[in-house]
Amino acid sequence: MNIVEKILARASGKSSVAPDDVVFADVDKVMMHDVSGPGVLKVFDKLKKQGIAVDKLWDPTKVWVAEDHFVPSADKLSAENIVKLSNFTKNYGIEKHFKYGMGQYGICHTLSHEQAMVMPGDVYVGGDSHTNTTGALGAFAVGLGHTDIAYVLLNGNIWFKVPETYYFKLNGKLPDHVMAKDLILKIIGEIGNDGGAYRTMQFGGSGIDDMSVESRLTLCNMTTEAGAKNGIVEPDQKVVDYLSAKGATNFNLVNGDADAEYSKIFEFESAEMEPIIAKPFSPDNTCVVGEAPSVELDKSYIGSCTGAKYEDLEAAAKVLKGRKVKIRTEILPAAISIYQRAMENGLLKIFLDAGVTVGPPTCGACCGAHMGVLAKDEICISTTNRNFPGRMGHVESQTYLASPMVAAASAVTGKITDPRDLI
């Protein structure tokens, strides 16, 4: 069995599973945020009316909650949702609630690794599509809707069809100035928005072995944009070190068997990789930066679970150091822990000296929610994950998806720019 099959077999109490089997898997961790949490509450209200008991969760210690989409509260309605969420966790005895303005908080997927909320081998479900991110720690990490999360909260398990697995093999170390974001955009460009639909996208090979855990998180994060059920990387010593440094030691690595089967294997040569962007209005509408259209950008956005981890900010700082931005540029570290490190290591000074606005952790403009949304006809280059019409604001705004290095280089020139032209 491959790693996903082994995790699902263990979680469903079976000796083995194979693609297309339907299993009810025990869930190890479940996450909700200020959008999915109130959504789950609506489901609970509905269940109550149907006579289904919702007064007790299956295990509040396995539940954790993030405030990320509309925080700091964007308006009255989002403020009310935060209050609802606080009451929810209080009433149900959920202790792990990351509240903004109260120490560590951030984007849920970023907290999943920054705060070591999810362990290798876990079945982890979250009320958000980019829950896939955390597969980089070797967990089966899957996004679900409100009804399914409500089901997990009350029952502790949920059905899955065991996915078939596409294996993406990267040969060799990525060249300087080419980032994991470039690789995942290249993959999505090749297989399409539904190229991984209902499947696992697993990453391996010498190029992945060489990658940091944070880069692997970027890869798994955007498997969502290929329609995948989950993304995953087999956990190795880097994952052990990463989690140990955060004080997590109580976990067992699950790895695939030597004869693990994959329904398809794709190979990529690192030496051939270049910075890549996705043009409006789809993540699979990709081209190398050298062939990007010559558009006048209005804004550069470096934020989100996809593109504002510490490593992403470090990459942007490398480009922005000693330079000035020519267009409106916002950098929003994805979690307070990252914000702190950026301050301690001088990144914030580089950003502020360059003229950037540094904002608080929030999903914010990535999903067109608040704080930096785009006006009609505005054109943005962004380290985020989607660029469908209206994703970041007005339906006639445009978003180009790029790596933090490309977004930073483009901030300096006002045009879509290959970072190698500046460094």
Binding site: G39, G127, L144, G145, T147, D148, G368
Partner: protein
């Protein structure tokens, strides 16, 4: 199940156009319905009628896990989506929450069915009848688990132990 078709002849209708991100903070189902398809078709709310079906291409509902998407469509009166394929979270949200039926169709049905056509979906026969044009197409049968959850009326009414 009979209804009339609203056709969007395109692929990748994503959750950002089905219900734009700014409305994610809204959890009032009736209010969400007023913004359904706002990112693609501002007239949708005024033209949709109770019992209508939407017909579209590949990868319907791709993007976010927001259950707001099937909720907004369902509370607009839409009873089924007919599409060449569906994105996974939209599909399972539609079924597990019992909001609407996601019906996978083939190219013949996609090409043959037009805006406004009256359609009769017979899930028991995996058949779609076009009453307006007097044509019949096949629908892809639901997988076993999906069929059972739909028959039960959603995931919470489905009892896996009784299988």
């Amino acid at each position: 199940m009979k209804g009339n078709i609203i056709k969007y002849a395109r692929d990748n209708i994503d959750t950002d156009v089905i219900i734009p991100g700014q409305y994610l903070k809204v959890h009032d189902y009736a209010e969400l319905a007023t913004h359904a398809m706002e990112g693609l078709d501002p007239d949708f709310h005024s033209k949709v009628k109770e019992g209508d079906f939407i017909l579209s291409g590949k990868n319907f509902g791709c993007g976010s896990s927001r259950e707001h998407a099937p909720i907004a469509l369902s509370h607009s009166g839409v009873k089924a989506i007919l599409a060449l394929s569906f994105a996974r979270i939209f599909y399972r949200n539609s079924v597990d929450g019992a909001f609407l039926l996601p019906i996978e169709i083939d190219q013949d049905a996609y090409d043959g069915i037009s805006e406004g056509d009256e359609i009769d979906i017979d899930v028991s026969k995996n058949e779609i009848k076009n009453i307006t044009k007097n044509q019949t197409y096949k629908m892809k049968p639901f997988s076993e688990i999906i069929g059972k959850i739909i028959a039960a009326g959603g995931l919470f009414k489905y009892k896996p132990d009784q299988d």
